[in-house]
């Protein structure tokens, strides 16, 4: 089932996704992409003869992160006067989710507190096993080398492990809760679910507190050890540690001044929060041991409406590591490029997408005509960006280490561009097949980057060869795809003819690949014209401003405006404004500068209005409601937000 998270939590081993009423949607361990062990996990109150689930429509919910941390507070207020406060955090060192529940009724409450879980350990609906260790106060469900344990403070008083979907229906833990008393079955196998319970007797305006600990481990022994290791830690101390770890992480970020723009002084705090939230989210979406990122926590496991998002695309990860580099976190580049070195295909390219462990992801790009050549270009482009940021001594070390990868990737791009423009492949949106402006720009960026690195590596001949090819690609792209009457690039060639549909990805000719330079007067005019056309033809009015669609006939998930394309446009506008400042300080407040900077800020604020209430940036915003629509949080959106704010800060 497709469910879009409202917030995420995690540490080095755990990624948890959560709905806005505190219901768990995803529990990924040990990787960010695999395995997802939870189908349903949430609290439920039993009062008299009815169950009040924490995700019932009768609760009014609000959810926010504790500032500068990955700790989530969820407030639920029921129309009958009950209040449920849930504080979720992930332990700093152990793969343990800590869920602190505080329940306060407005009148005396007498009943039960249940915590129900439908676990599918190892992503397996079948062949799971579960048992309840009464002495240790631990309920364990496992499959092969995945073990999930549920314990609590205070220790639960009753429990049930039963068949989730069998004809022995009365053993089902969910049904078992309905009479307010659990059967205490000790063990079961198959497709199973479980519940634990407590008597709850709360006076009016008093508070009862129960903490659920959900732990993951590879063996039963390690599971017990993890639970044992934290037995002396209070919830408050775990909160403090997690909070401090967030602060520590953010203390390394690039300092931001964010001097106000006329009329926008009020957004400084909002932008700072968005910057910090994007950094914190990316920290969780990264696999710290392998070095790469999931595009988004997987939410479409069965590929019902998409191809899924819980994979690494080189295109996305290249953008992310550069954004993190610019934000003050260079180590992500190092780790990602090491990962790239290991995962590069024998022909020098990178696959459409990968599992984070480097295995090929399920793909519809298995052939040379269905691959996405831009991903190899993006990777080389990002490598050179990182290379350019290094001190001289580190530059040499990096180049010595990665030269073989660069050589192989650049030669792949050379082979795929024998006449200048690239051979037919799939576009970055994974929608069309043909020859594309964006892909050519990415190859241009990759080859130019490779050329500069080759020059430093004393490979002058190769450097010149790659640079000449890049220049040829640029020349041909402008000659064949630029539409002088319309003032923008065609998308490319499809089915043998020019496809003139305007596509936001043509921004790639300027940002990030710099095929068009803002320093060149003619090219600067072209950039302006592209921006103007995109604004007039792709913008969608929602949330008190405009979001930008990918292209005119986009039908993917209703053709919503995307946070990615909107922030991509604003990034281009800010870069243009930045180049003007550098060129002419005296006319800083010129109309053009103001138009670009103000317009970009409006798009950034539009993107912030399209986040979840917890501040997660989606891929898309619903064009009718203005609410986050799809793929939450999207790491590419987070990266673009970082880059936008850095550029904005540079303009101040």
């Amino acid at each position: 089932m497709i469910r879009q998270p409202n917030s995420i939590l995690g540490n080095r081993q755990l990624l948890v996704t959560m709905g806005k009423k505190g219901e768990l949607f995803g529990f990924f361990y040990p990787g960010r992409d695999f395995a997802q062990h939870i189908e349903e996990s949430q609290a439920c109150l039993y009062e008299g003869n009815r169950l009040i689930w924490s995700n019932d429509h009768e609760w009014h919910a609000s959810q926010r992160y504790v500032e500068n941390s990955n700790i989530v507070n969820t407030e639920l207020v029921h129309q009958c006067g009950l209040r449920m406060h849930i504080q979720d955090l992930v332990h700093t060192d152990q793969p343990i989710l800590v869920r602190n529940y505080r329940i306060s009724p407005s009148r005396k409450f007498q009943g039960k507190f249940f915590y129900y879980s439908n676990l599918q350990v190892g992503e397996m609906q079948k062949k799971n096993s579960a048992f309840c260790d009464r002495d240790s106060g631990l309920l364990v469900q496992y499959w092969k080398d995945f073990h999930i344990g549920i314990s609590s403070r205070p220790v639960f008083e009753e429990w049930q492990i039963g068949k989730a979907l069998d004809t022995v229906w009365w053993t089902n833990a969910k049904y078992d809760m309905e009479n307010g008393k659990l059967q205490n079955n000790l063990e079961d196998i198959g497709n199973i679910n479980n519940a634990i319970g407590w008597e709850l007797d709360i006076d009016a305006d008093s508070t009862a507190e129960i903490t659920i600990l959900i732990c993951a481990a590879s063996t039963r022994q390690l599971l017990y050890r993890s639970i044992r290791d934290i037995r002396n830690e209070t919830v408050e101390s775990m909160f403090d540690q997690t909070y401090e770890s967030g602060l520590k992480w953010l203390s390394r970020k690039r300092p931001l001044e964010l001097k106000g723009f006329p009329g926008f002084e009020f957004v400084k705090l909002e932008l700072t929060e968005a910057f910090n939230r994007s950094l914190l989210a990316l920290g969780i979406l990264n696999d710290p041991t392998r070095g790469t990122f999931v595009a988004a926590p997987e939410f479409d496991h069965d590929f019902e409406k998409s191809g899924g998002y819980g994979y690494c695309w080189n295109r996305d990860s290249s953008e992310i590591v550069i954004a993190l580099l610019d934000s003050g976190y260079p180590e992500y580049c190092e780790r990602f490029f090491s990962w790239c070195k290991k995962t590069q295909l024998p022909d020098g390219s990178w696959f459409q997408r990968y599992w984070l462990d480097g295995n090929a992801g399920s793909s519809w790009g298995n052939f040379s005509f269905s691959t996405q050549i831009d991903e190899t270009g993006s990777t080389l482009f990002a490598m050179e960006k990182y290379y350019g940021s290094l001190e001289p001594i580190l530059k040499k070390e990096f180049l010595d280490n990665i030269w073989g990868t660069i050589l192989s990737a650049a030669e792949y791009l050379m082979r795929r561009t024998p006449g200048g423009m690239h051979e037919p492949c799939i576009c970055l949106w994974e929608t069309h097949q043909g020859v594309f402006t964006y892909t050519n720009a990415a190859i241009y960026g990759g080859l130019m980057g490779a050329s500069r690195m080759a020059m430093d590596h004393n490979e002058t001949e190769l450097a010149n060869w790659w640079r000449e090819r890049a220049e040829l690609i640029k020349e041909q792209t402008i000659e064949r795809f630029w539409l002088p009457d319309e003032g923008y690039f065609a998308r490319g060639i499809r089915h043998g003819s020019i496809d003139k549909e305007i596509d936001a990805s043509i921004l790639g000719t300027f940002m990030p690949f710099n095929m068009l330079s803002a320093e060149d007067e003619k090219e600067r005019e072209m950039i302006h014209s592209i921006i103007s056309n995109l604004e007039s033809r792709l913008r969608v009015p929602v949330n008190r401003y405009y979001g930008i669609r990918r292209y005119e006939k986009d039908t993917y998930i209703d053709g919503n405006p995307w946070t990615v394309t909107t922030l991509w446009l604003s990034k281009a506008m800010l870069s243009l404004a930045g180049s003007m400042k550098e060129r002419d300080e005296g006319t800083k407040k010129s109309g053009e500068w103001k138009t670009m900077a103000t317009g970009a800020l409006e798009y950034i604020l539009w993107s912030l209005r399209g986040t979840t209430c917890a501040g997660m940036l989606p891929e898309q915003v619903n064009k009718y409601t203005g609410r986050p629509a799809w793929a939450i949080p999207l790491s590419w959106s987070c990266a673009l937000m970082l880059q936008n704010i850095i550029l904005l800060d540079g303009l101040g």
Partner: protein, 269 residues
């Protein structure tokens, strides 16, 4: 509470269907007065229903007539409105003459309802059986939910317990067209069997290698458990789809706990 209706007909092509929805003051002669007027005016009543249960003082009389094309019935409406028992008249012409319905949406026990062919329901079951793991469990759980909800709705109108729940179940099945039930139950121990002699699932499913009425078993289990407040298990042991002359569902109290022995379904009964 009255179930709303929809009428399916094949009318005379040279005629058209005109419907009347009449609100009337409920007296012992009101319906007769209205019907007499229709006869007097030569309006051929082909289908009708009336309801004065929901509101005993104001009745609703819906009449579908077949008349020659182009006939103006406004004068009849005026005369209808002139009757001292008639409070209001709505009327209209049905052009397609195949499906006529005055009421929308349909409701059952005060909740939204739809009319579904047995074949459509069975098509869903077939697809679930072919493609979904634990299809039998899904159908049974759906049935349990439906059966439980049915008792909760019925309780708004009648007290239900172990003494009348089987009769109510039988009436419900017949009224809803699901089947003709016979039961042989020891009410004290809640053991015995329920036979369904004309099961709608079989009627659309026809022959199959395995029993197909898990939804019905679930409905029985949910209905009886909710009505008696004792948890029962129900399993279909004979099915018309596998060649038996009737479907038979065995009923017994659910075991107090589950153990390895219950994993083998054969031991459940």
């Amino acid at each position: 509470m009255v179930r709303d209706l929809c009428m399916f007909s094949k009318a005379d092509k040279e005629a058209e269907v005109i419907w009347f929805k009449i609100a009337y003051r409920n007296t012992v002669h009101s319906e007769a007065d209205i019907s007499s007027l229709f006869a007097e005016k030569g309006l051929d009543m082909r289908f009708a229903y009336l309801d004065s249960l929901e509101n005993p003082s104001i009745g609703k009389y819906v009449i579908f007539t077949e008349v020659e094309k182009g006939r103006d019935v406004s004068s009849v409406v005026t005369e209808l409105k002139g009757l001292d028992v008639v409070l209001d008249v709505e009327y209209g012409t049905s052009r397609n003459q195949v499906m006529q319905s005055v009421e929308f949406p349909l409701s059952l026990f005060g909740e939204r309802a739809i009319i579904l062919r047995a074949r459509t329901f069975v098509d869903i079951l077939r697809i679930v059986n072919e493609h979904v793991p634990q299809a039998e469990g899904i159908q049974m759980h759906t049935g349990i939910r439906s059966g439980t909800a049915a008792v909760r709705l019925l309780r708004e109108f009648i007290d239900i317990d172990e003494n009348n729940c089987f009769d109510l179940l039988k009436e419900l099945f017949m009224a809803s067209g699901w089947g003709l039930l016979e039961y042989d139950i020891d009410i004290r121990s809640l053991t015995g069997s329920i036979r369904n002699r004309d099961c709608f699932i079989y009627d659309a499913y026809k022959e199959n290698e395995f029993p197909v009425c898990a939804y019905i078993s679930g409905f029985f289990a949910g209905f009886i458990s909710e009505a008696t407040k004792r948890t029962v298990q129900v399993q279909e042991v004979q099915c018309m789809a596998t060649g038996d002359t009737f479907c038979e569902h065995l009923l017994s109290p659910a075991p107090g706990s589950t153990g390895a022995e219950h994993i083998l379904k054969g031991e459940l009964t």
